[in-house]
Point group: D2
Chain length 340, copies 4
């Protein structure tokens, strides 16, 4: 196998982040995230968010972040509305339902919810014989590589606020989303109630930073993550990583890097006449190959089969912070050989 | 602050383990624990367990391990029996109950359950108006520093098997327990249905290895930990650590080291006329000081206040894999100055 | 308001059943369903089921029956497959999810699942990143008035058994379903693992009889319903009702009666040129009226608005055990006046 | 068997209540508690509560009432504090834990919690490593036949309000409690946040009336009980019963009746030299008999064995609304014969 384009979590972590862990390895630090590094990391993130008025909590993974936030925000008879392609609906083994809440889904457009989707959901859920929709869940960037624009997010959040719905943004691939959209980190405080800043998929060994903007959602969240098994004894191990990631704009540069390489791949593939399932501006792209070409490509590269169209197959290439331009160009060369 | 004896998770991780992470940082690895390092780690652990016939799953923390195992094993109307000092009863913020199960407690003796405790619990829970006891939970070493002997564990497991109860051993501090008791790792396969081998509290950055011996408890456990947010995308980050910990007996040596230093402290303190709350042979000791001496000691060392006896206070010293003999001797010297 | 065709639970209970309650009101009976009447009721039902080899438990309502059965049968990481029109998906306020389980839905055909639906669901849920489908839920009669034929049920159950899926039949309107289909009560033992025999919607004051055929699902179910608040202290109050309902074929006659009246309405409406949304052979029918006619009809009758088609509206008429032929004919006469 | 003193739910329901059901049996009523009888019942209860400012919801049983209220009020990381003898701790098969919440228990005095118990519980639960105590649960009358006085309840509620704890009163045996204590129904609005008025154990076929005084706990409770399977389609069947029970002071008279007979038994037994386990002023009494006398008594009467003291056994006699003075005197005569 020459290289894996299967996902963006194949490489342990960025060397600078490993270096930071190394540096801190002789220290004694307080447990449960009450240490200096975690404090620093929070302050650095708040600077980029351009607000002091938020609570930040670090947990280890995306499903954990999602289930912790959603089960904290919702009352027991409430459901979360998500796009049918949403991670919580498809790829979390019923983790949200396991906390007691229905995930109600809407088709959306390009992997994104619209205010129309929310309106429809509210219309259907009219009385106590149906769950109450209490929260809207979206992802930036989305599970299929698209991004919400500022105006789209603004419209959603305005709608949510008018209808007493909380808006939660899953930022598992936020770094890539930031690099691909006009929504910058300092805008989120006005665009949602709670979000998480993904680390695992962008160069941290593990770690996601949950950011709570809405005052009503702040109290006792530490109790809640503890009860979900998400409060790490060595919380500083994540604090150290985020501390480094938010210095020198490393967090942002990694997303820019992977997006640039994904764009490069898209351009080159397009020049080869390969069509794409969707217009992605992030680090996930979805080219469509003939079945026989996919077979050959599988022998030398690792990637995900996305959708079987019969004679053709949609595959997914994901670039990461660690992917090199060389690996991408070699892939293109190999594809050229295969399809010609 | 000269040094913290507050707990055994103040230092990031053993240098050899960090080195192993460093070495693997250029690789691409498969996600979700389906990588080579995790495979190696499992094989190394199985060698020490002296059985191939078990399933091993790595998760990030102790509460996560406990809630995942217990909610997997129990049926919805069943409860787990624990010692009243048990970690799941006291210090997990209702994590087990949050998965839907009562923690029924018994006083126990020296932090340990006896067959008599189980018998009493079964007698009380006689019909469908009370929860059914489905599992017994114990810790090795216990939350108050004691250890079960082989014959004690054998008696418990025999009793459990005769009464259709699963036995689960929480090994958050297993390394210390192994060094302090006559129960070696190759014996556990005959002493319980499921256990976990603690990493976070003995020199790993994070990670606990759940070991399932009972065939009935094996199927679909990966589905379950995914639904609890416990299946790490970068599972190999834990695999690498356990792989190293189980080479050169590093896992065992760390426990021996911390126990030896705790024994040293016990000896020295005893010679100074300090009494201990309990006879501990592990890395947690519970000396009893006069209130005014505790006040002075708090100014130079960090440790936990365990129990307020009025004029005297029980405190807890915990040694770790990283604690040095020098730090211990300095502590003793400082105590001498304070109490004389 | 002349009469309500809104549902089949507007009238308290059949006079014969009330009479039975009256007769037993001077007795002392054992609590929690351990009384003579409950015993008799079970035996009478078993006679009709033509098997001794099943466990029967009485609970008060349909949602309670559904949530008790489903949460008992499924493991925590498992989901139930239902038709998108299924009661558990639409009208139970997330009751199944509140017990921790996803309801995965398929479109189905005429409110009924097919083996193709199950096959599709299994294909999608291929690994541990998605819930495991553990059970198939269907209703007889369905939520939109249709019924499964014997061969349809047989095909479903065969498929389920081949794929280690449990099949659960919601019989909230079973009496009507029995009268409308070729599936008789003595056939169910070979057609599903567990079902419930609805009482509330067919002339009992309240009560549903859960029947467990599959031996694996029998143990400790009483513990489970107690933990769900479904084990009535005065269980005999339901036992008495089922005891009477299963004497003199009362249970069956009530369904025949309501179906006959629904058929009468269908015939008469068809003769008036009114179209029906679906071909229903049970006690729920779905005529399509012009909007203005619905407005007028609403002034004298109570019924449910089912679907707004713009100029036309689908409404639902439900007949019950208590509905009279006179009331139906008067309705027809009134409709004639309105539409002419 | 001459008579059962085993419990107060052996007889179906008071003849007047059955009469009311009979009268209403020809009517059509709206479903889900939105009917006239339920409305009347609520108004009659509010008159006795002397407040309009409360929400009332009827459900079928005590465990259902308890689990619905507690899981509605608590946040996911919160626990309820109960007396160790509390019904939710002992006899509900983990129903509260099944909704995700720990039941933390305190010994109490005479089956009653004190402010000291609450203070102790709060002291222990000091940070996010332990559940947060969110609610206090007590029963009036208690599970062992005692009652809280007005001043006791006032002290508890004052303490709860000062410490942001909700107070919930389980009134499964409220009628008996009202007759035995100085706390009358019009006082409860100032003594708790939520309570339930028990019906099943005092002459209703089934039904408990949950009363919510605290405005914060009112919204969306109907959604919640629906999601717990507790919203009856034929809600009016309970409404009719409570409507009748709260006419002519029937609800109160039934409690007075059963208490009077229990007092009579106590007096007579005391005169025979029989000692009682506790001083009960309600319908449950706990006489202590010699083992051999219990054996003989068991042959002619049904009652519960409460506690085995070795040579002696504590048994429980419960009187109900249906118990007659004749039955009590006959019991006394039979006891005389046995013990002499």
């Amino acid at each position: 196998m020459k290289y894996s384009f299967r996902n963006d979590y194949s490489e342990l972590c960025h060397p600078e982040i490993l270096e930071a862990l190394l540096k801190a390895s002789k220290e004694q630090n307080s447990g449960y995230g009450l240490d200096v590094h975690t404090e620093n990391a929070k302050n650095l993130i708040k600077e980029k968010l351009e607000t002091e008025d938020c609570d930040i909590h670090f947990v280890t993974g995306g499903t954990q972040a999602n289930l912790s936030v959603i089960s904290y925000v919702l009352r027991p008879y409430e459901a979360v509305l998500a796009c049918s392609t949403g991670h919580i609906n498809v790829h979390e083994t019923g983790a949200i339902e396991a906390t007691g809440h229905k995930v109600y889904t809407s088709e959306g457009v390009d992997g994104k919810l619209t205010t129309q989707d929310i309106e429809n959901a509210l219309k259907i859920h009219a009385d106590e014989h149906m769950v109450k929709i209490g929260m809207v869940y979206i992802s930036q960037s989305t599970e299929i590589g698209t991004v919400y624009s500022y105006s789209e997010l603004k419209a959603l959040y305005d709608y949510c606020q008018q209808h007493q719905l909380y808006l939660f943004i899953d930022g598992a691939r936020l770094s890539s989303g930031l690099a691909a959209s006009d929504v910058k980190l300092n805008m989120f405080k006005d665009l949602c109630d709670v979000m998480y800043i993904g680390g695992t998929k962008i160069g941290l060994m593990s770690g996601e930073g949950i950011v709570i903007f809405n005052d009503q959602l702040k109290p006792y969240f530490r109790y809640h993550i503890k009860s979900k098994g998400a409060l790490l004894a060595k919380g500083y191990s994540i604090g150290i990583q985020f501390e480094r990631a938010f210095q020198d704009d490393l967090y942002f540069k990694m997303g820019q890097h992977e997006n640039a390489l994904a764009s490069l791949l898209t351009e080159e593939l397009t020049m080869l006449g390969i069509k794409m399932l969707s217009e992605s501006s992030t680090n996930q792209i979805f080219p469509i190959f003939k079945r026989e070409h996919v077979e050959k490509l599988k022998e030398i590269y690792d990637f995900e089969l996305w959708e079987d169209l019969g004679e053709e197959i949609v595959i997914r290439f994901v670039t990461s912070w660690a992917t090199t331009k060389e690996a991408c160009m070699e892939l293109i060369e190999d594809i050229k050989k295969i399809i010609n």
